[in-house]
Symmetry: C2
Subunit: 592 residues, 2 copies
């Protein structure tokens, strides 16, 4: 079984050739990043991923997290050492603000690295991943004192962070949450309640854990308008910022779950724990959502990492395993051919390759938008980036994660019965991937976010901006790119028609959007991937040469495969989106 090989070559292609990051995405502070610096960072991160954490992926899955004593969580063997090396290497600080000890790297580079860390070991990578989400949330919402206290310690990796949103009865519908925060005379709050599904809620990696907890103030209005956000650390900081008294909170249990066994999913009990308001009272959901939107891109990137890892295993197996005879094969040796020679195996491998590289390009394009939104010089460009990013976010999260489940399962299929055996490692990728369509907002919620809040709410203006950009690219291509430009224009037209149609229907039937949301998201997801593949094909066509880098031949061939075999899914989606769903959305379904 082959180990994880960091996809540095393809990341370089996307960052340098497709997105031209060094020219367009300065580090925080405005300094341009040169290609050499980016390449050094990619190489070093790739080595860390494949050499330090990938070897702990299978053992972390087998061993899982344990509770040797009440409230104590033990991560799998080797996780702590790898985490210490990660901090020592400065990786936790990479995308943090230089003002807080960070290195100010752009999001697009940070996400490229995170893909590798997740591909190598998702259970492990989610610990620093969650901490960075908490960092982002404090950075956007904290006052100067909070920032000065918490951000440097999270940036260095000494302290970790968590996001405490879900309660047993309140998941998607956070308006139902019951955790209470009682003001105290000293300006702090006593936080009481139970949170579930808290990733890294307890662990043995860091000295302190900073919980960001959604709770209600006593006088809060009901529903989502009465939710506030609190900083509730496991150990109260001393005046000097050291580790003080133990706070009144504890991990009650950890979940037994399908995958990501190396990551502790905790039930957290807050029992009058001391906390401090983060941001404004009753504006907690908005404060959290700044981070959530970032996190949705990040989990999409996570999905891409798993697809890459599973695809590598499938490809390695297809090269080594010999079974049967393919109808045509240039050179035969031995009693059977490598299964890579069989057309159906190629179909599965090329599908995975087309999806992993297509979603990677799109996710990093979206990450670059985030950098423009936050750091761009031109206010108009920033606004445009914000609009496009809002649209891209649910697609990166939901489309990438759906494809990750499909592709990791397809990677298993390449292995035949051997794919079901734990020791071959590929089944873990499917078990790990299966959480991604569920967390950070289930995919159905992402689809409603896209169709309802991003398309219907502005009458299709934001989507129009996106489709216009795609169409302009298609129009600008010459004859040599026609094989890609024409179907790209066609799918833009399909998407425009679907959007118009949904805007019309929404007026007549309030359930229409819910019924259409998932196929609509998948249709727009294909527009995104078709655009990325056409752009990559255009680059590859211009740069290929007979004895040049084989990546250009690969890009062209994979683009063709995508357009011929995968993009046609949009034909069915268009038919489905044209159907009237009122019979099953409006009725009682008492017969179900």
């Amino acid at each position: 079984m082959s180990g994880y090989i960091a996809p540095v070559r393809d990341l370089r292609f996307v960052l340098h050739e497709l997105l031209e990051v060094s020219a367009t995405s300065p580090a925080d502070g405005g300094e341009a990043l040169d290609r050499e610096t980016i390449d050094q960072i990619l190489d070093a991160a790739g080595s860390f991923a494949s050499e330090v954490i990938a070897p702990l992926n299978g053992s972390g899955d087998r061993e899982g997290c344990r509770m040797p004593a009440p409230g104590v969580v033990q991560t799998p063997a080797g996780f702590r050492e790898a985490y210490d090396r990660f901090c020592a290497g400065g990786w936790t600080a990479l995308a943090c603000d230089p003002a807080h000890g960070g290195q100010g790297m752009p999001s697009v580079l940070d996400n490229a690295l995170y893909e590798m860390f997740c591909g190598a070991n998702m259970g492990w990578a989610a610990y620093p991943g969650m901490s960075h989400a908490a960092y982002t949330c404090i950075a956007s919402n904290g006052d100067a004192e909070q920032q000065a206290l918490y951000l440097p310690r999270i940036a260095s990796g000494e302290w970790a962070g968590t996001m405490c949103l879900t309660e047993p009865h309140a998941g998607t519908d956070l308006g139902l949450l019951r955790t209470r925060a009682q003001p105290r005379a000293d300006g702090s709050y006593a936080v009481t309640g139970t949170k579930i599904f808290i990733s890294g809620g307890e662990q043995d990696l860091t000295d302190n854990i900073v919980h960001l907890v959604l709770a209600r103030l006593p006088d809060a209005p009901p529903g989502v308008k009465g939710i506030s956000l609190f900083i509730v650390p496991k150990f109260l900081p001393t005046a000097a910022g050291g580790i003080g008294e133990r706070n009144a909170l504890a991990c009650g249990s950890i979940e037994r779950k399908m995958g990501i066994h190396g990551n502790a999913t905790c039930t957290m009990n807050f029992d009058g724990a001391t906390g401090w308001l983060l941001g404004e009272a009753n504006r907690g959901l908005a404060a959290m959502f700044v981070m959530m939107n970032h996190a949705r891109i990040v989990v999409g990137v996570n999905a891409i990492g798993l697809m890459e890892a599973a695809c590598q295993k499938a490809l390695g197996y297809a090269r080594d395993r010999t079974q049967g005879r393919a109808p045509t094969l240039a050179a035969r040796s031995g009693p059977a051919d490598p299964i890579l020679a069989h057309a159906d195996v190629r179909r599965m491998l090329l599908t995975q390759k087309a999806y992993v590289e297509g979603t990677r390009a799109f996710a990093l394009w979206a990450s670059q938008l985030a950098d423009v939104q936050h750091r761009g010089a031109d206010p108009k460009e920033r606004e445009r980036a914000a609009t496009l990013l809002a649209l891209a976010t649910p697609i990166v999260k939901a489309f990438s994660s759906e494809l990750a489940v499909e592709c990791t399962s397809m990677a298993m299929q390449v292995f035949g019965g051997h794919g079901f055996i734990a020791d071959n490692g590929v089944e873990q990728h499917l078990r790990d991937a299966r959480i991604i369509p569920l967390y950070e907002g289930a995919n159905g919620i992402q689809a409603m976010d896209l169709l309802g809040r991003k398309v219907l709410a502005d009458g299709g203006a934001g989507l129009g901006l996106f489709l216009e950009a795609v169409e302009q690219f298609a129009q600008a291509q010459g004859d040599g790119l026609r094989e890609f430009a024409e179907p790209l224009s066609d799918v833009v037209a399909l998407a425009r028609r679907a959007a118009r149609d949904q805007i019309e229907r929404a007026g007549a039937d309030p359930n229409a959007a819910g019924a259409a949301a998932m196929p609509f998201l998948r249709l727009i997801g294909h527009v995104a991937l078709a655009w990325m593949w056409a752009r990559m094909a255009a680059l590859a066509r211009a740069r290929q040469s007979p004895d040049g880098d084989p990546i250009y031949r690969a890009k062209l061939a994979t683009a063709r495969f995508y357009f011929e075999r995968l993009l046609p899914e949009t034909q069915s989606l268009a038919v489905v989106l044209g159907a009237d769903a009122s019979a099953w959305t409006g009725a009682d379904l008492d017969w179900l």
Copy 2:
């Protein structure tokens, strides 16, 4: 979390109303089965499934199988007791020949029951399931003495059976197998070799285990034409048919795998073990395939059981769980609506319902063909049934199992994050289901079997017979059924065009069939489901009444959902099947 409820009502609909089994499928010996007898059997089997084995499903998964000592396998707690009750109830003998102590029930009824047993506890059900496969194989290939010795003991459940095909280097390609059988003077053989992935290769349920082993005779020609089949029991039978000496074979290890933890997947070492030739020398593969074809229908049925079980859990959760507000809902109470009110949740539930009931109808239709093939009075009808069954078999196996992975995953999605938690039980269904596309011939092999051996080999004649039957049904429907009959005719036309096209391409490009096989199988699978749903809708329309059984309303509404939302997948499949794949099937792919 709701337990498993045997889908007796829907099975009655399929057996009595759709297939009219009591009129058309006599028991062995020609006796007609009346509806009351069938209903009693369904009820009793349903109770056994939901009351005896379903409660052991979660615990069996958690506990798994163990090897407390070398060669000894311990099944999970309760499995042995449940197996004893199963035998005492006569269930193992149900579909066996009355001449060997069986009850001679038709295959269509036996498969209806097996669906329930698998839905309740697949890991457990696979033990008697494999035994029955071995029974079938000995019944078709054994001489009178072998039949008299082994069949009554397997029929009673006292002895179990296994199928030993796969070796580490020989899975799909059995021609590569190396296990050797050396003739002895007394007419027996010494069998030596290692077999892997042997379901129930060792267990603690039965007194003896009868292994059916593929091996090579010393003078055998190479490849698949030199494979013979042997009976190799764990304990050699005494002259009186009792348990004699221990044979020279042992379980070397059991696999750690993604799912079906309750079923022991064994590596079996044969070390000069005594065996007897079953059927003719060098004709072992053909002998095995009589059973394999039967087993492929059975594993399709197994997939349907898991879809049903997962769908039930998802529906129960969607009724109980309240989150958010649906745009329209007749009666509101409490702070949130049941998630069943949300259109996207309905989409997921109706998709599962349409697929589970559609594949169930088709699998039982195919099972009925097997009864006609083996027991029908009219030789022409028997031949027609054999042709249709040959065509249906890979579809039942591969399409049902693909859908089982999709639907069990969709059932998890209905649960949101709670679906990932082991204690909620739904994730086990996906882990269990994931083996089905892999075993009994991986789905890619099924697809090549359909397109290559069943369609191209006879120039499309057999497929023509099937499509003709579907088309005749569509033509015979009146105006009231037009909403189903028209798209049914359309998809038949798509399938005809695709078949013609593939027959043409196959002449020009030997790789074309391999590239097209999976989408072709899925297209024909949709023809099958559309036909079943149109037939069910026609029945339901004729029999519904305002205060009648709600199943008819449900069938009509689900048929509409299938035609509007799921059948349109065929539009994309038709486009994909029209594409020329020679660029990626013929090339070297050195860049992959």
